[in-house]
């Protein structure tokens, strides 16, 4: 799995560039490295469903973030905050020390626990008659989770439409009319 490790190092470098860069568009494009790296890792671990989803969502979020942030303002904060940085580094160290106990309990990479998923792999095609096992799980066995996912997309769209009800082009048209008078 040397490819996965190379991709992980690339993703860490991309995230560091996204934090440290002074330009907003540069930061957004460097953040794209993280998502596309995750997509390639899913493809290497033989999960093409998740790879397609991650690739498409990454492109969409890149377009939306550039449209939302990239053109408007390029404010950056350059002041150094010593106390806040040191407190966060110490808390991060505590978190890493305590999470080591959990990391040693995880089964090794490449040998997962096959208790629930073995049942789906054995009986899934016979019970549902669907060749794509991911579709069989998310739309038949776990379709209540899919209902929650649809509700999340619905409420995100409705909320953003509800927050900004005032149109831009109406006000600019009024201003143009006033200038003509």
């Amino acid at each position: 799995m040397i490819q996965v490790r190379i991709l992980l190092v690339m993703m860490i470098i991309g995230a560091a560039i996204a934090i440290g860069s002074t330009d907003l568009i540069c930061a957004i494009v460097a953040l794209g490295v993280v998502g596309l790296g995750i997509s390639l890792i899913f493809l290497l671990l033989q999960a093409p469903d998740l790879a397609i989803l991650q690739l498409v969502v990454e492109i969409m979020s890149l377009v939306i973030m550039i449209r939302a942030f990239g053109m408007k303002d390029t404010v950056n904060i350059r002041e150094r905050r010593f106390i806040a940085t040191s407190i966060s580094v110490i808390l991060m160290g505590f978190f890493l020390v305590f999470s080591m106990a959990a990391i040693f309990e995880i089964p090794r990479f490449g040998s997962p626990l096959m208790k629930t998923s073995l049942f789906y792999l054995r009986n899934g095609f016979r019970q549902t008659g669907v060749p794509n096992m991911v579709s069989a799980i998310i739309l038949d066995y776990r379709s209540l989770d899919m209902l929650g996912q649809v509700v999340i997309a619905f409420s995100a769209a409705i909320g953003l439409v509800l927050i900004g009800r005032k149109k831009i082009h109406a006000s600019t048209a009024n201003r143009a009319e006033r200038e003509q008078k």
Binding site: P48, G129, V134, M146, A157
Partner: protein, 146 residues
């Protein structure tokens, strides 16, 4: 945008839309599904808006239709679940006959009961939802109340 972008968009946009439709209607046979197909369909509409501007993009598919589609997708997913109550449970596959495991013929396009219908409902909700988010960022004024 320039003439090159507009000409390329005019030819490739229908292909992107068809690729999304392929993902939706074959979601229960190959990789993909309603969520991925919905986002690709939304990307094809965003492509038109980025190339030609918002007046051209909102002329045929107006904001009323998009808001209607957002509600229609979520409501139809819920309705498919509620119809399952007639056979016993919420979100039950109500085309299933008792004693028979497969629904329809496996590996064919019209099979497996409610799954293609659910894929279409998810596609409607997701595609119009993400397109509405993009329109809200472009058209509406957020913050700065006078």
């Amino acid at each position: 945008m320039t003439v090159i972008v507009k000409t390329v968009t005019r030819y490739t946009d229908v292909l992107i839309l068809m690729f999304g439709m392929y993902f939706i209607f074959n979601g229960h046979l190959t990789h993909g599904g309603g969520f991925v197909g919905g986002i690709i369909v939304a990307l094809s509409f965003i492509h038109v808006m980025l190339a030609f501007g918002k007046e051209v993009a909102l002329k045929r598919v107006t904001e009323r239709i998009i808001k209607l589609c957002v509600g229609l997708g979520a409501i139809s997913f819920l309705l498919i679940g509620i119809i399952g109550f007639t056979k016993g449970a919420f979100l039950y596959n109500f085309f299933r006959k008792p004693g028979v495991d497969y629904i329809g013929e496996p590996f064919s396009l019209f099979s497996s009961g409610i799954m293609p219908l659910m894929n279409v409902a998810i596609c409607l909700a997701v595609a119009s939802g993400f397109y509405a988010i993009f329109i809200a960022l472009v058209v509406y004024k957020i913050g700065k109340r006078r």
